[in-house]
């Protein structure tokens, strides 16, 4: 049994009569290297650990939960947290739907989400990767004027969840990333491009590709113009499409639905998207960087089909949102680390791939705009009303080909409408860090705001 699970079980022994306890314990080892001008600019090595405790009391009108957390694992911190959580619970409103997860009989899949190479690779080798990444970008094109940051990072993370309601789960995950931002210059004008590669271990990383991506994205934006405002078909590249899917995934959270904050509420069975649109959340697919064996309440993760051939099929639920909706958890609890409480969310979204590649999508679209990067997603998307307006850089599509670069424009519609306006889904599925994979997607009736 993992040491973290042992610790979690030991904390459960503190339960008073009539109360339930849930403990989440996490630890991590992180390494980060930033290269600048061929030297290490920053090197961070860190070990961190901590826990979150929830205590539940049953009353006549339902249960009350209190929460406490600490960024260490010492006995004093645990004692204090137990006391605080207990006290916090007395102020909560009794709620018949509040409960901790209980084992539901769904077996956890077996996934390999760790690679010993993260720990066994020497620091010197990791440093060399960051420096090489920077060198490749700087030497890859004479128009690259600067590399703002070239980074290597990795982690080994472990967590355990145990509760007096019978939950016992522990898991580990490793990851390694490189990312780089290039600044290209031509005639006094600067443009930026960002490249990345991710995997479970340093050996998975494709540094050449990350460098080439950053160079290509930065250099082909040179000479970008701000066009006049117009309506057109927007083609989102795999990265920006993944961002779009994550936003849609937020509205498919059972939590948002039962709280009446999703435009998908009460629409199960309706056609909410075009028939070519099938969206699933599947953390059991180990190709996802965010794949997971257990959810944040310790239930087995599972494959959930959310939108099938355009029809809204289901939402993702954690225990409490499922009880409010009169259904069962879909094993979709997520939490923001030790300080967060569980809520329902998507972890590993994937849109069923189409059968045409990006070049064919450009050909079929004919004229439109190709979206390569987004800014202002947090300030320009309202997940309750569905209003969507984000800043964009990219290229015009003319006569089925990429044409001149464009900048300082926004693309706008509503999320509801965009799902019904999906014209083409690409076959070029790309696994990306974050909660969604992405592929090229073309969406009609997008308002582009420019001059």
């Amino acid at each position: 049994m993992s040491q973290l699970l042992e610790l979690a079980e030991r904390i459960l022994e503190s339960a008073h009569g009539g109360e339930e306890i849930e403990v989440y314990v996490a630890s991590g080892v992180d390494t980060e290297v930033q290269s600048y001008q061929g030297e290490v600019e920053e090197l961070t090595t860190a070990t961190s650990n901590g826990f979150g405790i929830r205590i539940l009391n049953d009353g006549a009108g339902g249960a009350r939960v209190g929460t406490a957390w600490a960024g260490s694992l010492d006995d004093e911190a645990i004692e204090n947290a137990l006391r605080e959580a207990r006290d916090n619970a007395t102020f909560a409103t009794e709620d018949e739907f509040v409960a901790f997860a209980r084992p539901d009989g769904v077996a956890a899949v077996s996934l390999t989400l760790t690679d010993d190479a993260v720990a066994s690779t020497s620091l010197d080798e990791k440093i060399a990767m960051a420096i090489e990444l920077e060198r490749l970008v700087r030497s890859g094109d004479p128009r690259i004027r600067q590399v703002d940051s070239a980074n290597y990072s990795d982690y080994v993370a472990e967590a355990a969840i145990a509760s007096t309601t019978g939950i016992r789960a522990s898991y580990a995950r490793t990851g390694a990333y490189v990312s780089v931002e290039a600044i290209a210059n031509d005639g006094g004008e600067d443009q930026t491009g960002w490249g990345l590669s991710a995997g479970r271990a340093p050996g998975d990383l494709d540094i050449e590709r990350a460098a080439a991506d950053a160079i290509r994205r930065a250099t082909r934006m040179l000479g970008a113009v701000k066009p006049k405002s117009f309506k057109c078909t927007a083609v989102f590249d795999p990265r920006t499409a993944a961002t779009l899917f994550s936003i849609i995934g937020g509205a498919l959270s059972g939590e948002a639905v039962v709280r009446g904050r999703s435009f998908f509420a009460n629409r199960v069975g309706e056609m909410v998207a075009v028939p070519s649109f099938t969206l699933l959340d599947d953390p059991t697919d180990s190709r996802h960087f965010s794949a997971s064996v257990y959810d944040a309440e310790g239930l087995a993760c599972r494959r959930n089909v959310l939108i099938e051939k355009g029809e809204l099929k289901a939402f993702v639920y954690d225990t409490v949102s499922a009880r409010r909706a009169g259904t069962a958890s879909t094993g979709s609890a997520v939490r923001g680390g030790i300080a967060g409480s569980p809520s329902a969310g998507c972890r590993a979204l994937q849109l069923a791939p189409g059968d045409i590649d990006q070049a064919e999508i450009f050909r079929r679209v004919g004229n439109g705009v190709f979206v390569e990067s987004l800014i202002g997603v947090h300030s320009g998307v309202n997940p309750v009303s569905g209003d969507f307006s984000v800043g964009v850089t990219g290229l015009m599509i003319r006569d089925g080909q990429l044409a001149e670069p464009v900048r300082e424009i926004t693309v706008a519609s509503t999320l509801q409408r965009m799902l019904l306006d999906v014209a083409y889904v690409g076959s070029d599925l790309e696994w990306l860090p974050g909660s969604a994979a992405g592929q090229t997607v073309a969406i009609d009736n997008i308002a582009v705001s420019g001059v």
Binding site: E39, T93, Q146, S379, G380, D387, E408, I409, T414, V448
Partner: protein
């Protein structure tokens, strides 16, 4: 909380260890933070949470290289282990453990009058319920009210190899009200924050009810909203949250880390006219009680009032220790970090535009056609190109000099150096708004402020044809 977070001699020995391999500068930052949060959602009290985090971050600088390690183990052996890990970047150096002499602690007490720990949790819930009642009193179309209250007590000491030894006690309190109104056209949202580097005295019953009613009215008004226009129009920004414009349009680009890497459109422009003469922009950590207030920054430098742009002319950038050391100058008190687990970098504090002498109503009256933005919700910038966006969460058309139809949420987009030239009127109704600024994965509390002002044109990213 024990006021001696850590013994002085332990700190000195950890610094000596950090310098043992030939470091040129070392720093130990020890932090203890207690937080509490509560959420009232649809009249149910949910998620009362208490948190405690303490630990130390140690950095060692050698040439242009920084080594950093952090630990939650505040014993001497824990600190020494972290110091050795941070010092590992100093590869060639030697010389053994250095003797570091620290002066007496220069401590800064909190100015909060009601400390979070002294407030009855029942009183907090009473205030949240009061806000809920106030929001719902605005109309039956208010279908949802969410109230969040959070506070944090952050005590840190920072010591470095130059002998600096300083501490600060920062108490922050935040109260947010979010409302949803439901009508024939769907749901709309309203939001109002109250936040300050203050204790519970920040939150009067009146203040929270005011915020709640404001959030409710905002949501109700938007039920009649039409899609925002698409394209360039004159824009009037109401006082307060409009300051986010400057935070994004030039604030981030005036941070010395971006400047020294030539990754900002403002690099090399000190002394040049970069904005309309109506623009005098200040970053000011000394505005007591504001969300971005700090007695000292996270490197031990006193917070300062720094004029960045004066009458349109760029006067200076913002600096932290590392960047100012490279330039042989002193830090401007802008070295900030999210926690002991993070390296400090150049960050804004309270960034505001000095007020002008126009009248806010006159500015609107003299705008025949445009957009009036009552509240901004956030933004983002690419400092290298200067392109930035900021989102409007409450906005209206201006037609014939009058504020008319409400508009749905959207982003505005512009280029920093261009937009700064287009400020053609600044009023005198100055106010400030709290916000959370994210940079390289670190979040810190900041304030932004300005008076009602007009931009001759900005691109409105709406969905209207």
């Amino acid at each position: 909380m024990n006021s001696t977070l850590i013994e002085q001699d332990v700190l000195a020995r950890a610094l000596g260890e950090a310098m043992a391999r030939g470091g040129e500068f070392a720093e130990v930052f020890v932090e203890d933070r207690t937080t509490s949060s509560a959420m009232l959602d649809q009249r149910r009290v949910e998620q009362l949470s208490s948190g405690h985090d303490r630990g130390a971050g140690i950095r060692v600088v050698v040439g242009d290289t920084t080594g950093f390690a952090h630990t939650a183990d505040l014993t001497e052996s824990g600190l020494v282990a972290a110091a050795r890990a941070a010092a590992a970047v100093a590869r060639d150096g030697g010389g053994g453990v250095r003797e570091i002499a620290l002066g007496p602690l220069h401590d800064n007490p909190s100015r909060a009058t009601i400390l979070p720990g002294d407030v009855d949790k029942a009183r907090k819930i009473e205030l949240m319920n009061h806000a809920d009642d106030a929001a719902r009193s605005e109309g039956s179309s208010i279908t949802q009210v969410q109230v969040a209250l959070g506070d944090s007590t952050r005590h840190f000491v920072v010591a470095n190899s130059d002998g600096l030894f300083a501490g600060d006690h920062q108490v922050r309190t935040r109260f947010n009200v979010s409302c949803i109104a439901t009508g024939d056209t769907g749901m709309q949202t309203g939001y109002r924050p109250i936040a300050g580097t203050r204790g519970f005295e920040l939150l009067s019953a009146e203040a929270v009810a005011d915020a709640a009613r404001g959030a409710a009215r905002q949501a109700i008004t938007k039920l009649d909203a039409r899609p925002a226009p698409s394209g360039d129009l004159p824009v009037v920004l109401a006082g307060g949250s409009g300051g986010i414009l400057f935070h994004e349009a030039c604030g981030h680009g005036l941070e010395a880390d971006a400047i020294l890497k030539q990754a900002s459109v403002y690099a090399g422009k000190v002394g040049q006219l970069v904005a309309s003469p109506l623009v005098t922009l200040v970053d000011d950590g000394t505005v007591e009680g504001e969300w971005g207030y700090l007695a000292i920054d996270d490197e031990g430098r006193p917070g300062a009032r720094n004029v960045l742009i004066e009458n349109g002319i760029l006067t200076d950038y913002m600096w932290d220790y590392l960047r100012s050391r490279k330039e042989g100058r002193v830090s401007s008190g802008n070295g900030r970090r999210q926690s002991y687990q993070h390296l400090p970098m150049v960050r804004m504090t309270n960034t505001y535009l000095l007020e002008g002498d126009s009248d806010a109503d006159e500015i609107v009256a003299q705008t025949p056609y445009g957009v009036y933005v009552a509240q901004l919700g956030g933004g983002q910038v690419n400092t290298a190109t200067g392109d930035f966006v900021f989102g409007m969460t409450a906005a209206f058309m201006i037609e014939d000099g009058k504020i008319t139809a409400p508009l749905r949420d959207c982003n505005l987009i512009g280029n920093g150096p261009d937009v700064l030239q287009r400020v053609d009127a600044v009023a005198s109704d100055f106010s400030m708004t709290p916000g959370t600024c994210g940079k390289n994965g670190q979040s810190v509390p900041v304030g932004t402020g300005q008076a009602t002002m007009r931009l001759t044109r900005v691109t409105i990213g709406g969905a209207a044809a």
